[in-house]
Symmetry: C2
Subunit: 219 residues, 2 copies
């Protein structure tokens, strides 16, 4: 007899991801998976996005971390519904975690769900979690070789945010090269030069996000 | 606001385990979680158990391994329904894996489900997977300090199989000490001295397992 082989986790992550997409579609919620290295500025970007998006949309946040809830407290301080997901060692968020966590939100009161993934350039990219778009953050101090070194994250994202762009003069970071390499592997990628510190590029990014949200709601 | 913190995996492993117990109760299936070190003789014990149990019961097997399907092939050769679960690095089987895998069996055609957990003395013990009983295997060559070193597995099992007992004369293994320490932490533990090679102790073990199965079916 042929033996059925089941792969723990990865095999049904896709099923879970599809279920989440259906729930979110029904509830009219747009989900954004924010990924990047530790220290790239994921939480700061999410905070700035909330400040701008929340005038037009009801926003919720799922904060992924290996442990602790420091980032969730920053979001909570904005009066935004937030649930902290601790992966306890795992380097990524799984779709089944998102399925499980959605129950803690009033989905009828949400338009946009922002998810801060675990600070890591590898594993998070392997797991679809029901998101509509992925935003990959690469900060200038991390270096301009990261897109080549960790292609999956950048190849599967809708947007690349080059964060801490105000620091560019202090680093040897060729942003044209990064943009070209990233768009070669992912022609649909939108690249934004951003500084969450001085708000540079935020308006352009938010304009694009709101356009994506509108397009989904019309689809 | 108080922030809800969700722990990925561990938090809902218990919920999954309870769901499995309900399904198995409804279907009249007795589930045995077989745990022990790599090389302790888990697969050999399962093969011998199948040979003896299958005259009275319809047996199925879930074979857990980090990778590969060598052990599942041994079970398949006996004409017993078997599904291979590959954890791809994880040191334990999770309840949600078992939930997922049950669909590959015809549960109306099963009386006993044997699960071979991952070869590891630590993590498998932390995860209930819907089992009725746990059988921990400790083989004589592993040494008589393992119960003290890895107490959780032995404290949470219904049976301890001291396997490869035919090799006892070649090793400095104080089985009385092991039995006393194990029963001190777990007074309900049943200890069996077994050799799957020469069949020593198998009849006693199977007699006890069949008694446990009968007791559940009468409950």
């Amino acid at each position: 007899m042929e033996i059925k082989v089941v792969r723990q986790i990865l095999e049904w992550n896709e099923d879970n991801s599809k279920e989440i997409k259906e729930i979110l579609k029904k509830k009219g919620i747009f989900m954004i998976n924010v990924m990047g290295s530790p220290g790239a500025g994921k939480t700061s970007l999410i905070v700035e996005m909330i400040k701008r998006l929340s005038s037009n949309y009801k926003v919720g946040v799922i904060e992924g971390d290996i442990a602790g809830q420091i980032d969730a407290e920053k979001i909570d301080a904005l009066g935004i519904p937030v649930v902290q997901l601790n992966t306890e060692g795992a380097c990524h968020i799984e779709a089944m975690s998102i399925s499980h966590i959605l129950q803690y939100f009033d989905l009828d009161q949400l338009d946009i769900m922002l998810i801060e993934n675990i600070g890591n350039l590898v594993c998070p990219a392997e797991f679809n979690i029901g998101e509509d778009i992925r935003i990959a953050i690469l900060s200038i101090p991390e270096g301009d070789d990261k897109v080549e070194k960790y292609p999956l994250m950048f190849a599967t994202s809708e947007a690349l945010v080059l964060n801490k762009y105000d620091m560019k003069e202090h680093f040897d970071f060729n942003d044209e090269k990064v943009e070209n390499i990233a768009k070669d592997m992912n022609p649909k990628l939108h690249v934004f030069r951003v500084s969450t510190r001085n708000q540079m590029g935020m308006e352009e990014l938010i304009g694009w996000v709101e356009k994506m949200v509108r397009e989904k709601s019309l689809a």
